[in-house]
Symmetry: C2
Subunit: 198 residues, 2 copies
């Protein structure tokens, strides 16, 4: 195809879940089949890039100073769920299982990748705790070494004198998962996380 | 999420192969995870929309007056493969099985959808034939009623006195396909299209 077409295909291929063939299909769709969609897509991309930024309180996506979660009076803002990234928050919201607030770290501690405490959204969290807004922290971080390190750092660096309760989400078999198909680390987590069954 | 985010998600969801979840994932990718990719994507979209148009001879994508196929001296321009859409041309090119020229109709006759001969790229094809450039037409149109109607129209509306040979691509079992799994229409095509086997 033409150079501009190939450049577009290359850009599309970098999107998550879009391979070489899908990128070609999308590029042909936008250039040949539905050319009217192209300016609308460009407009939506530019509008979103201009309008969407981080919530100043929790780090979620927002168009005002605060995000939709932080301004929702129906939610319990004294319970704060700590997540690594915005998509984690979206996944928890989708489950409908949580009605508290969030705090998005935008990463996790990873000395090997040069990510230290100053690179994460810790300061705003400490400010929230120091203001006395928070009664409980739920650590919804990954079940791996870096998630573990981030949990450890958080639990040992709370503001002096804070009485915040801290919990970490459960690990074990996923819903619908059988013991036979679970990997060893998951089984270890599941055994360690066993609960009394009456 | 925010209104601008949802607008972007809605636009992305209209792309082929992109569902609700993929659109959310791509929007989060572009706004949160790799924001540097967003302007590059917008630039590629706008450049392609500005640079890519139809080849004046065959209707393929082109950045100059003629496309890469029409200007390739290695190809046999006296054989012209008629396709409905640019993606069909791309699929045939990908097979590596064809080294002639193309003509893209940008649709097929469909009275029920209000598509008549004037809506298709027929005139440029007739001009090519009238100039004596074409010795053979290969009709690579769909194996259905509308494809059949388009083939019939083409074969009966060639310029007066033209001696162009016309063939239609073969229909039958797809590669790797067994008789057991083929539908009745395919089996009928396959039986009608049987060839002598020595």
């Amino acid at each position: 195809m033409t150079p501009a077409f190939e450049q577009l295909q290359k850009q599309l291929k970098q999107l998550p879940g879009v391979g070489y063939r899908s990128a070609e299909r999308i590029a042909l769709h936008l250039l040949v089949e539905k050319p009217a969609q192209l300016p609308a897509l460009v407009h939506a991309l530019e509008s979103a890039a201009g309008a969407v930024h981080r919530c100043t309180r929790c780090g979620n996506l927002a168009e005002e100073a605060l995000c939709a979660v932080c301004t929702d009076p129906q939610r319990d803002h004294s319970v704060v769920c700590i997540v690594e990234h915005v998509p984690d928050l979206v996944a928890i919201e989708r489950s409908g299982a949580y009605k508290g607030a969030y705090h998005v770290l935008h990463g996790r501690l990873s000395p090997i990748h040069g990510v230290g405490p100053a690179d994460l959204n810790f300061e705003a969290l400490m400010a929230r705790i120091a203001r006395g807004e928070v009664k409980e922290l739920i650590l919804a971080l990954s079940n791996d070494v870096e998630g573990e390190a981030t949990c450890h750092y958080l639990s040992t660096h709370l503001p002096p004198g804070s009485t915040v309760g801290i919990s970490r989400i459960g690990f074990g078999l996923p819903s619908g998962g059988g013991v036979l198909y679970a990997d060893s680390v998951t089984l270890r987590s599941a055994l360690e996380g066993r609960r009394h069954y009456s």
